[in-house]
Symmetry: D2
Subunit: 261 residues, 4 copies
């Protein structure tokens, strides 16, 4: 399917403020960017670089006053996410070097704390895809998805204790559970067609059967329509905007995803 994903953020800045943005989608095996627009108002110098995960990041210093970011992309992406029933667990020794770091605990995914829970959820499952599918199902049944319930990311431990969270929070717990079963897992941020309420979205991927599979505990069934902005170990790596100095929040923001033909 072909989607147009757009976002608009307006900030009121009081002192020169460094930003690092992650708002430009990249083409890859998962999506093809046909058209793309990225504008900053007022126009100021922006420097783009690639981070260690391969994401395109934009650096700039916003000056005092109003500051807006407008992006829009037309992306070809799958109608359905791939299911991989019985895609096998990959033994540690057979994982590609670059995937190994997704086994380690990270800021919001304390995977070292979830052995027992992960074992009990995955019990009796065929090792690999089916374990992660069971984790995702467990999240759907045990952690309430409440959009807008938290502004700051919750760690997997916090999500488990609270019993609810935003998309990012559910992803953190899913990732922590996968890693504690020695399944590499990473967070993905981007857009999802049909998300309700519409907003930026986060989900996770697990490395099984020699590829990454998509999982999203906030959705039912396996609809597609995902547009990826960035990959990382958890939300600390993939903030769509990271700002330094006194906190600044958008005074206006808008996210839209529509199918185009």
């Amino acid at each position: 399917m072909r989607l147009r994903a757009s976002c608009f953020f307006k900030f009121e800045i009081s002192e020169p403020t460094p930003f690092i943005l992650m708002l430009r989608p990249r083409s890859g095996a998962h999506q093809w960017v046909e058209k793309e627009e990225y504008r900053i108002f007022p126009s100021i110098p922006v420097f783009e670089f690639t981070d260690s995960y391969g994401n395109l990041c934009q650096r700039l210093i916003a000056n005092p006053g109003e500051f807006s970011i407008v992006t829009s992309s037309e992306v070809v992406t799958s109608n359905f996410i791939d299911e991989g029933f019985r895609a096998p667990f990959i033994e540690i020794q057979n994982l590609p070097d670059g995937v190994l770091s997704y086994l380690l605990p990270s800021r919001y995914c304390e995977s070292d704390c979830f052995n027992d829970l992960a074992m009990s959820i995955g019990e009796g499952q065929y090792l690999g895809y089916n374990q992660v599918a069971a984790i995702t199902e467990w999240l759907r049944n045990n952690i309430q998805y409440i959009p807008g319930s938290n502004n700051e990311p919750l760690s997997a431990n916090q999500v488990r204790n609270k019993g609810f969270g935003v998309c990012r929070d559910l992803a953190h717990l899913g990732i922590a559970l996968c890693r504690s079963l020695s399944i590499p897992a990473r967070i993905v941020v981007g857009y999802l067609h049909g998300l309700n309420p519409m907003d930026m979205h986060a989900w996770f991927e697990a490395y099984i059967g020699n590829r990454w599979y998509t999982f999203d505990a906030t959705q039912i069934g396996n609809p597609g329509g995902y547009v990826v902005l960035g990959f990382g170990r958890d939300a600390a790596d993939v903030a769509v905007f990271n700002q330094f100095g006194p906190s600044v929040y958008p005074i206006e923001q808008n996210v839209q995803v529509e199918e185009i033909f």
Copy 2:
């Protein structure tokens, strides 16, 4: 200045043909991509990756029949290229690690063969920028720039012997001369506003005074208006399309660059 740079290529394909394209500009310190479009007809799977120089490359298999590529970008770039009068030569030991490979000879830049010529051209010059400016001036005076004169890249040795060449050929000789003075140099391919006749363009950069400076022996003065598609050691690294199997040439092509406001 803000430029819209567009290209169109149409091929007639007789058997399934792998292509590697380098037609998506990246944002960086040198330019900011505000808008961009990249379409393939008929629509087929395309996979994008980053090569070891940081260029975005697109892989695909073109099927038999007509096959077209249409790209268009709106890019903010400098009105004038920076001049660096007396920007100093950087001693080898002070060059960043990643710059060192641009000192080595490469397919079309046999820098190991140009010591005497480079020494004589650069003689008496302040080491660094002024040497490269002298090389560029020497190219303007000694190698005739004849657009369309060669289809296949010429190496620096061949250019010197022939005495003429296309933009890419002059760049090869300029790069070889820089490297033989231990100045890192690389080719750049992309677009140039006002190029006559309009086409894809190639020029070179030299690393002096702790940054890359642009040089273009095909132009007089230091006009700006450059849009970069890729960097590399020479034309072997930065073909805007690289195709494997029986040779295929565009049956139609069109390149346009216009200023927008």
Copy 3:
């Protein structure tokens, strides 16, 4: 100074166990490895790769039975660590791209939670080196360094609450405090000459004045004698051995560092 740093680990393995080791020092600006030895008993296939931080890592599957690792290195390193009194804070916008990720919170360094403490410790200090020196001094005075007190890494929050920890734990708190002042900071693991009791060691580095400086709250004065095995965001990245499956601990281990002439 020239040091010989050696380690010996013996494990009793009950089932085939994947290991990732980080026990081979690399030469760099900070140290030069003159001689080095790395043996596994019994001899089994080992594959080495470089992680995303540039560390050399060794992968292997240990078979059931006894399994030992013996390494020894002769390394030239500084007699004293560099002090950088008044080395300035680097504004975010001037940090190299590759350093930015060391500003983010990580598994054991919840830098998002330490703004107030970091501000109060660094208050009145010249921005940059002097702030980090104040943080290090604060750690010396407020967190008791008790070798062997914890087996598992503590996060910065946990260290602060407990009031004591091992070298790694103090480093985590130091890193979190630096990052909350927008100073990039990373953990370092390796050896320290004269450490008492002798063991593997961990300390931290902060990026100030356009370079990394070493800080170690467990030591007084600025003695040198450090041999680096790896860099990372925190202990999750730089385990000298990381083992998957049922936990395995060394049944014998020995670390030695001696000066050689």
Copy 4:
């Protein structure tokens, strides 16, 4: 087999001379470095970095006077190189991204000039390993291997015209022939046990059947005993020493490889 590979180079330096060395073997899937020694006399600062091929390189400035390098490594390597009879040609579209650059022509491998010869040599062969085996056999029969016959590298075109060359020259022609059949190929430098006369050695690898295979037209049969120092596109990338400024040649040198038990 376990080999001890050693080299010794002594230079007489007349002015401060930057060197880049590639004399430290890395462990990988192909070899395991058990012990290693790398000394410079007189002792001066050396900085090690990893180049874009993953090779460990050492940078230093040699001061006027005598300057020596002594290295020695104990390496576990295969007794025989793998043969891959009928290992298949990998279609361009299925090659890993990182392998693609080994299809391009390079300084000493003008693969764009060898289509006809490569086609005639490979004619009738099963595509892949068997083609490269035929190329290697063709080299053995048509290009005389004369150790010491050239000091400077010859390009594939030059080797073909001369009809003889050193190990490096044969490798260049082999690589050019492979690439012109769309088979990725790279040069390897290092040591070979039993080489006669003993010296540094060069050979090549081709990417077939989803892995790299070793080929060496200077040897008969497929003996093993190879110790790798570096990989690259051709000799321009993998000089074991690269020196800048007025040419300097070793006044003494010695290479030894012996089996140890």
